[in-house]
Symmetry: C2
Amino acid sequence: MLDSRILGELAAIVGADNVLTEKQDMLCYSYDATQMEFLPSAVVHPANAQEVSAVLKLANREGFPVFPRGAGSGFSGGALPKAGGIVLVTTRMNRILRIDTENLIAEVEPGVVTELFQQEVEKLGLFYPPDPASLKFSTLGGNVAENAGGPRAVKYGCTKDFVMGLEVVLPSGAIIRTGGETYKGVVGYDLTKLLCGSEGTLGIITRIIFKLLPYPDAKKTMLTIFDSIDGAAKAVSAIIGGKIIPTTLEFMDYATLQCVERRFNLGIPPEGRAVLLIEVDGDRDLIEKQAGQIHAIIKPLGLVQFRAAENAVESEQLWKVRRLVSPSLRDINPDKTNEDIVVPRSKVPDVIRRIEAIQQKYDVPIVNFGHAGDGNIHVNVMIDKQIPGMPERAEGAVKEIFQAALDLGGTMSGEHGVGLSKAPYIELELSPDQIGAMKAVKHALDPNNILNPGKMFPGGEGTHAAG
Amino acid sequence: MLDSRILGELAAIVGADNVLTEKQDMLCYSYDATQMEFLPSAVVHPANAQEVSAVLKLANREGFPVFPRGAGSGFSGGALPKAGGIVLVTTRMNRILRIDTENLIAEVEPGVVTELFQQEVEKLGLFYPPDPASLKFSTLGGNVAENAGGPRAVKYGCTKDFVMGLEVVLPSGAIIRTGGETYKGVVGYDLTKLLCGSEGTLGIITRIIFKLLPYPDAKKTMLTIFDSIDGAAKAVSAIIGGKIIPTTLEFMDYATLQCVERRFNLGIPPEGRAVLLIEVDGDRDLIEKQAGQIHAIIKPLGLVQFRAAENAVESEQLWKVRRLVSPSLRDINPDKTNEDIVVPRSKVPDVIRRIEAIQQKYDVPIVNFGHAGDGNIHVNVMIDKQIPGMPERAEGAVKEIFQAALDLGGTMSGEHGVGLSKAPYIELELSPDQIGAMKAVKHALDPNNILNPGKMFPGGEGTHAAG
């Protein structure tokens, strides 16, 4: 617990109305999209970088940890105050400061909700592609801190690829700018990209300069169903080998399909074993041509059904299969562990086969769907926590799933991050020297280890020299 | 000077044939594309990461500095051994290890020459877009260390945007992998991007995993001449505003044009004040359509001439104007200072006007050309070092040019880096807290300051805590 003197200082910094200390007020800042829960000692809502800076200086002086938080929609516990201390919420900093249509950049505060930002830039004919599933409530600051992805990443890249510059409050309280508003810039180290995906452990983002694109002329959605996983996976490589990089290449396995079909009866043919939901965007004539090319390319690969939307209404209809996945899953079991491994694109069938074997071994239902274009598979282990032994079996399965991804040249996480939930596994993926170098960077910027301690690296961080 | 015991140890690590200590052998490792020159104490040519590691461990133990070097084609002195010590040359590590056509990635050693790599991937129908002017001799390792750009960056990005993973020898001698071969990955800090553009101060790159693209179907080159700088600059914004992102948007000002025309007589109309060399690539039908759209968009902007190439031969003909710039410049004066400022795209006319005023003030000829699409202008101050006072006037002009770029929201360098030549100016661009954070990162990874000391930050680096 923080004593009343410190709480008084916090109130002096952010205003008494922006400090919460009552349990009922703090509850909704104690959890995220994982099933973990940790109550903070206090919650503060600063209005700007100067207030964030003052909070961090106080934290250094008094030795309490600070946990930055956007909307709390993370899937790895990255915003949870495990070690106690204060949660610093960025949602009051929620202004879109400017959208520059001539230079195709925008400057925003971190608390802006992703979808709202997309809508504003689209009104001006511009495009901000990153589309994490949480976009209706997640904040741009959180997206940057976690390097959020989404279906469109296969063509456009992840959040990091759109961040040109930041204003950041370092753990010391120093307010710095990184990067800038030019497309190129090589003066000094790239602290911008270092901050992206650092999960709130190296600094608190208070402004973001994003790169934007012209909004694509048109898009075309295709629902394609294959008689095998291998066919669908080969289709992905064949399409890209055919010089077409679709906006999205969303994949669903048989278990996922069955789940959706059982609940919603969408008329998926019984011989369908895997779905690819393909979307291309760009010039109106070109995408029609590409849709034809895609059909020709994938036809020999065990194609069972090919449906191409002729308009926006039909496109929404086709996307339904994908959007209904989440609401269907809980028919299998009430609880799920949602992992997001990545393998090189060509290894998708191998990893699916490995997961099938893991499912048999641990006797837990697993459904796979996700972003086949970049090899990013959401692996959902569906369990019922009330069934004795099942959570432990799921844990064993998850560890083997991570190992399978790593064996195939992949990574444990493409979008969700490490946070608390994957910290115990990080040594599966990173060598002691890699972790040593990362901890050295953390310690250099946060010698008192006050910013989001205990995240990413197991057993705290920031105490070792370079590996 | 290194004593014979240390030289003996170096010979034991890399082989006696791969250690140079005679002045005549070391001369060609004492300079780069700047006009600076520093003779090292020895030059070593390691064959692999293990040898690089052993050299760095020895350097830490004995306290001598190590200066990594690719082809030495840099424009900022980044590879020069100013403080004495050894130059470590990466050119023996010159294998293309694999090109994976299914996952569109390649793994290479750092000493591979950029153009050679491009040719090899193009044979397989793939595309590695970064195209620094030095590509015929520069190495990929150097390109990564400097985050090299080039004309195609406006559409495709710089070298960094194609680096997915690295093998790096840290200053301590630890060999680590960063990133990987998946398009997504959020486990741990992004050391890959931190290393890109760190100018050989944080680690020595021994392997690179690059992302590749399908080779574009076709390209179309257009030479467009305007009656004013403003017209050309407006054309850039109007084309991109028209939802076309060309592969290149190369710009030449009136002084450049005059220079080329005087020497080569290409038939540039006398009322031409600025050139844009525009290239689009992609689908064959689409680029023809885009060429028509571009013509319509730029016609009202003071267009004096529009020539579109119908084939590769004509395209080469149009590129001639751009390629003849460098050989023409020395007609003005024998020596040049080549800077590469960047401003937001819409600020190109403003910065050109500021540079015209600076030219008047300091009475030195200045020609401007470069990559208008991303606001990256190569500013060439043409001087004769023999004329008393002229070098000093040029120095004054350069400092004001940097300040002009910064005043307009830009940066001192988009491609060349800081190295030695811009280190004295870095405080114009970065705040003490920014520099403090960068030095803290440097010190964390290189506590003995043995790797490329004296680069980037004025007066050495690595001695301060975080800002």
